[in-house]
């Protein structure tokens, strides 16, 4: 009678419903809800999250549309639907169903209809700003009230400026116009945004979708759905991506082909002077535009890599010598050109960059290559590349494959750091032994309590580190911020610099202090894969034991919880003399009496080593 469960699952996880209409997606959603326990049983890898959706409108359609998109991103949602126009009451009464539900995420949907106070026409810009500030201060206050009562992260829509230009063309020319005021509100809120709150860019979504289609007034009057039903898929996709990014499902590297992907023509046949990168030719311009887009992605911290069936020397020459080629050799963090299968080369790139296959995105004009990669390496995201190179940039951007939850200085410098890595390995080649190599790196380390401005990066590390991660516990920024002021927790961050680069924060540790038992539990210990094998973990352990001693603790407990990716640290604790006290299929618990600890020898410059308590 109902659709076969396997068909439903295939539809979800192949993401084939992405092209469906809103109505069809809601139908799918209904089928998912009917079969949810079976889907969850078949897919234990889905991460369960408690998701509340509240708003100043009817949120039933939005909540229904959201379910398939969340599942496609690997999230099994437990949904709480707020009442119609229930946002204020759910938040302001602390015994509301919302607080009882205790969400991980609250998606809050508001729109321009909630703004009632506009500055009168011909008001000065100062007065306009004053009105905006007042309104936003109230909003911040409102959300802080919620934040004090609930650990949930908030995803809040900004305001989609409506297609109602009362002043017509004058709207863009008067600072006191309604459109301008809404723009100022969005900007002011961004300036005052608390860290537990993330904006959903409803303004950009509605503009991309087309405001005249986005706003469906009849639908609003009939059902209080705040925007057209047809916009629900793109709205839901954006939210799902944001939540997925927040729990650490992000991609870091874009692998591209060369011929007919970064330039027109076949390098091997046409030669460096025959390929099309002509700024005065529409096709050449298309490829140059795509290169510019890639450069923009590189500048925001995405690693670029080449995987091409080409001669490596000739291929590199294009990036060194071609007069109009925008990308240069140093823009790529990995460059593989040979005649082997692409899946093999993609795996090589992942291991060169020391990142997982699930961090990769593949862009190739050849459908056969795309199919092969999809089949052999299903965890790699393969972009459906359109035939027309003029559409390459938008195909990449629209895929949302690099939607991240946050951006840190470390991200922006990643590609430079990796280039320095290569120089470092050259140094490694001339050093006599590993110890000499480590000494020659002139490493400077600092281990200290994480400061408020460092919590952003601290959270990011905890959520995206898979390999050096002892227990794979994920915490969001609100939880971390709360821990930072908890007297029984210590949040330590480690920064590293060497001769070639400044890595910033590369390790995060959360300690739980139990004064009555005189014991410290290492709740979380993660370290960036870029700095493995430098003795940092040894230095951290030295520091931990010294910290325990200085503060009157006697024992340190640690646990290794096995995950698909953290085999690297399976034997970390025994290495430092920890004794196993408990073992199960997935976990090993250890304890160390600090008097038994033998400090490790390390090669760091001690001058800059921060040891403030």
């Amino acid at each position: 009678m109902t659709t076969d469960i396997k068909t439903i699952e295939n539809t979800i996880f192949s993401k084939s419903f992405y092209s469906w209409s809103a109505s069809e997606i809601m139908g799918l959603s209904r089928k998912i809800i009917k079969n949810q326990s079976e889907i969850l049983a078949n897919h234990p890898e889905l991460v369960q999250k408690r998701i509340a959706i509240c708003g100043t409108c009817n949120i039933r359609f939005i909540s229904s549309g959201l379910i398939p998109f969340l599942m496609a991103e690997g999230i099994f949602p437990l949904i709480f639907e707020g009442k119609f126009n229930g946002l204020s009451s759910e938040i302001l009464s602390s015994d509301s169903d919302l607080y009882a539900f205790d969400p991980d995420y609250l998606i809050a949907i508001t729109d321009y209809r909630d703004i009632h106070e506009f500055p009168p026409y011909l008001t000065s810009i100062e007065k306009v700003r004053e009105t905006a500030n007042r309104r936003i201060e109230e909003s911040v206050h409102f959300w802080e009230y919620f934040h004090q009562r609930c650990r949930s992260k908030v995803l809040l829509t900004n305001i989609a400026i409506p297609n109602r230009h009362i002043l017509g063309g004058l709207e863009a020319n008067l600072v006191s116009g309604r459109d301008v005021f809404l723009r100022i509100l969005n900007l002011t809120f961004l300036e005052k945004k608390p860290t537990f709150l993330t904006f959903l860019d409803q303004e950009a979504l509605s503009a991309d979708f087309g405001k005249d289609r986005w706003f469906d007034d009849s639908e609003w009057f009939i059902s209080k759905q705040p925007f057209a039903l047809e916009a629900i898929p793109i709205f839901s996709l954006t939210i799902a991506k944001q939540i997925a990014a927040d729990i650490g499902k992000i991609r870091k590297c874009l692998i591209t082909d060369l011929d007919n992907t970064l330039w027109g023509g076949i390098l091997g046949d046409d030669g460096i002077n025959g390929i099309n990168l002509d700024p005065n030719d529409p096709i050449g311009e298309s490829f140059l535009d795509f290169q510019k887009t890639l450069k923009l992605y590189k500048d925001r911290g995405i690693l670029l890599a080449v995987c091409s069936k080409n001669d490596p020397v000739i291929a590199k020459e294009v990036f060194q010598k071609h007069p109009t080629c925008i990308l240069k050799t140093e823009d790529f963090s990995a460059f593989i050109a040979n005649w082997e299968d692409k899946p093999i080369n993609i795996q090589k790139i992942a291991s060169q960059l020391n990142i997982g296959l699930d961090s990769l995105v593949f862009f190739d004009d050849n459908p056969a290559e795309r199919d092969l990669v999809k089949k052999v390496l299903p965890m790699v995201q393969v972009i459906d590349v359109p035939e027309d190179p003029a559409e390459f940039s938008m195909a990449l951007i629209r895929s949302h494959c690099f939607d991240w939850g946050q951006l840190t200085v470390e991200d922006l410098n990643r590609s430079e750091t990796l280039r320095a890595d290569r120089k470092r390995s050259e140094l490694g080649a001339i050093a006599l032994n590993y110890e000499d190599y480590l000494k020659a790196l002139e490493m400077r380390i600092s281990i200290a309590k994480a400061l408020p401005h460092e919590l952003n990066r601290f959270t990011q590390l905890i959520n995206k580190t898979n390999q050096f991660n002892l227990r794979t516990r994920r915490y969001n920024e609100s939880e971390i911020t709360a821990m930072a002021t908890d007297p029984d927790k210590v949040l330590l961050r480690v920064t590293l610099q060497d001769k070639f680069s400044d890595y910033g924060i590369i390790s995060a540790i959360i300690l739980n202090l139990d004064h009555s038992r005189k014991n410290i539990l290492i709740d979380t210990w993660v370290m960036s894969c870029r700095v493995f094998k430098r003795g940092i973990e040894d230095e951290v352990m030295n520091y931990l034991i010294a910290f325990a001693k200085d503060n009157g603790f006697q024992t340190v407990e640690g646990e290794y919880v096995c995950s698909p990716r953290n085999g690297l640290v399976a034997d970390l604790y025994p290495r430092y003399g920890f004794k196993m006290v408990q073992q199960s299929d997935i976990s090993k618990k250890y304890i160390l009496d600090i008097n038994d600890y033998v400090p490790c020898e390390t090669w760091f410059n001690f001058e800059l080593k921060g040891k403030e308590s």
């Binding site: 209409s21 109505s23 139908g27 209904r30 059902s223 759905q225």
Partner: protein
């Protein structure tokens, strides 16, 4: 496929009932899942499928399958039946 059959296929999908049989007189009272929520979905799906747009007045007065079909007949330009 007649318009009635098309509506039936839309309704089967929306109400997740593959054996649903309807006629012009079928109303919200006959189908448990036909509530105000799915009604909006039904209207949106019908508008999209038949490339028509119902006015607010028309949309809020839809009670039966016949209501939908009548609106579609009024609004749709005559096309050759294949």
């Amino acid at each position: 496929m007649t318009d009635l059959e098309k509506i039936q296929s839309i309704m089967r999908d929306i109400f997740d009932n593959e054996t649903l049989e309807i006629d012009e007189s079928t109303s919200a009272e006959d189908i448990a899942e036909w509530d105000s929520f799915s009604n909006i979905q039904l209207i949106a799906a019908a508008e999209q499928h038949f490339a028509v747009k119902f006015t607010t007045q028309e949309a809020i007065h839809i009670r039966t399958v016949g209501d939908i079909l009548n609106l579609i007949r009024q609004k749709k330009l005559p096309v050759d039946k294949l």
